[in-house]
């Protein structure tokens, strides 16, 4: 049994080095698949990075009643901090509020209105798990009921829009992910099926000589694995290259760093699995 295994293993290596074109083509297909996968993965990572940027906007602004003075304001501020879903907060005094107003709307309230009309208040950051329009709405309503609080608000429109976009991206990303997986398996197993198709005379001969299914299938599965490894190598090369090109073109933007260990090990494991699965799939569809 072991002897047969050694023979079949060496056969697979030989097959790959002899039948160069089909093997190479299969490897290229796997490489392309892994390449797309990796790109998708790192794009998603980058996108999530982006969306974290947006999430800074998940903030509730609270304005206390005009008659609330400094000391009472601090107390109110701390009360609100204890509400579920509030992660942290900054106390805003009148001057802070004016500065903030200018930063946000690009002009000076005091200049327009003649005096500083802004009351004391607070800015609160929301806990990650509460960063949804509905959850935030609840928190805001709770804050509004506290005596001394005049107004609590968050920019509903913007947050709803971001919610929608992120929902869309995740939804579309999910669909694309499934799509890529299906496409990859189809492509690789099609290539292997074509290779089997070209070898069908040889397979018939082997059968007539008394070869079992395992004997016939094994080299194809092994070839699948080897092609997976080669494909992984090619895709790692391509991604490294693409990364440098992107750095060159879009140098000004920040990218999530590609961790080499993750990239290499992930690609090789994924390549092998893809090779095995695709070859096994095509074999069972085609050989039996």
């Amino acid at each position: 049994m072991f002897r047969k295994f050694i023979f079949l293993l060496s056969e697979s290596v030989k097959a790959l080095s002899r039948a160069k074109i089909p093997a190479l083509i299969s490897s290229i297909t796997i490489a392309i698949t892994l390449f797309i996968f990796s790109i998708a993965y790192y794009s998603l990572t980058n996108m999530i990075g982006y969306s974290h940027d947006f999430k800074r906007k998940y903030r509730i602004d609270v304005f206390f009643s005009p008659e609330v003075e400094m000391k009472q304001g601090m107390e109110l501020f701390n009360t609100i901090l204890l509400i579920d879903g509030i992660e942290q907060g900054d106390f805003v005094d009148r001057e802070d509020a004016a500065v903030e107003f200018q930063r946000l709307f690009n002009y000076d309230v005091v200049e327009i209105i003649g005096e500083n009309p802004l009351p004391f208040g607070g800015k609160y950051e929301i806990d990650k798990s509460y960063r949804k329009a509905r959850e935030m709405g609840k928190i805001v309503n709770e804050i509004r009921l506290i005596p001394g609080v005049d107004l609590a608000l968050f920019s509903t429109g913007l947050i709803m829009r971001i919610d929608k976009i992120i929902g869309n991206i995740v939804g579309i990303g999910f669909i694309i992910g499934i799509g890529i997986f299906i496409i990859s398996v189809i492509l690789v197993s099609n290539t292997i099926r074509l290779i089997i198709h070209a070898k069908q005379d040889d397979i018939h001969t082997l059968r007539l000589l008394g070869a079992t299914d395992l004997f016939i299938k094994f080299p194809f599965v092994m070839e699948g694995i080897l092609q997976g490894v080669i494909g992984a190598g090619l895709s790692i090369l391509a991604i490294t290259l693409l990364k440098s090109i992107l750095y060159y073109i879009l140098g000004e933007f920040q990218f999530v760093i590609l961790e080499p260990v993750m990239l290499v090990s992930g690609n090789i494991v994924a390549g092998c699995l893809l090779g095995i699965y695709a070859s096994y799939r095509s074999i069972s569809k085609y050989l039996l």
Binding site: R3, L209, G210
Partner: protein
């Protein structure tokens, strides 16, 4: 031993073999004669289960040849050495690996394979060609590789389908000598041929076919 009992295996209504019955004893060498298209290859293909049988039964050593179960057929085929009319060599394997194939399939150790392959290479006079690929051989050399592959596993039964079509008379005679010696050593040999002059001096029994029917 090979026994046919009313075997019919047909491709269309009037091509194939019809209602054949005969017995070939162990250690016997029998020639299957008949003009081109008579059904000689069909008889041999039916024995190794390459084509389905419509009715009747085929026995090898009193065991009916297996049909449906693919594993059983594989093990059965290992007992038979077939020389195919169209050689059926694997194009991208060397002569050595082509001949070694039946032994690889049974998981024979490499050292024994080496010995046996070189022995049959000598028998069919191909020593020195073991590293060639099939397409680098002449027609006669390819045929001898196919013969060597059928001999290498020392099978219980040898089915030789027109094994001398591409060989000159002297080499053909050598090959038939080899097959005859195998029969003397206990192998059942069934060889199809239409080269009557070649086999006449041998004084062997022959089965004659015409249009798929046995000629008594």
């Amino acid at each position: 031993m090979i026994r046919f009992e009313n075997v019919t295996a047909c491709y269309t209504k009037d091509t194939g073999i019809f209602n054949l019955s005969f017995t070939i004893l162990k250690s016997d060498m029998v020639f299957l004669m008949g003009p081109t298209g008579a059904g000689k290859s069909t008889v041999l293909r039916a024995i190794i289960g390459d084509i389905p049988i419509n009715s009747g039964k085929i026995f090898i050593d009193d065991q009916e040849i297996p049909r449906s179960n693919s594993r059983k057929i594989s093990y059965f085929r290992r007992k038979v050495g077939t020389i195919f009319q169209d050689f059926k060599l694997i194009k991208n394997k060397t002569v050595y690996e082509n001949i070694a194939l039946p032994l690889r399939i049974t998981g024979t150790p490499g050292k024994i394979i080496r010995e046996k392959v070189y022995e049959v290479l000598k028998q069919v006079d191909l020593t020195g060609k073991e590293k060639s690929m099939p397409l680098q051989l002449s027609g006669g050399e390819q045929q001898r590789v196919s013969i060597a592959r059928a001999l290498v596993s020392e099978p219980l039964v040898i089915l030789a389908d027109e094994p001398t079509g591409n060989l000159d008379p002297i080499v053909s005679d050598d090959i038939i000598d080899i097959l005859e010696k195998a029969a003397q050593n206990g192998t059942t040999v069934l060889m199809s041929t239409h080269n009557y002059p070649l086999i006449r001096p041998r004084q062997k029994r022959f089965i004659e076919l015409n249009k798929g029917y046995l000629i008594q």
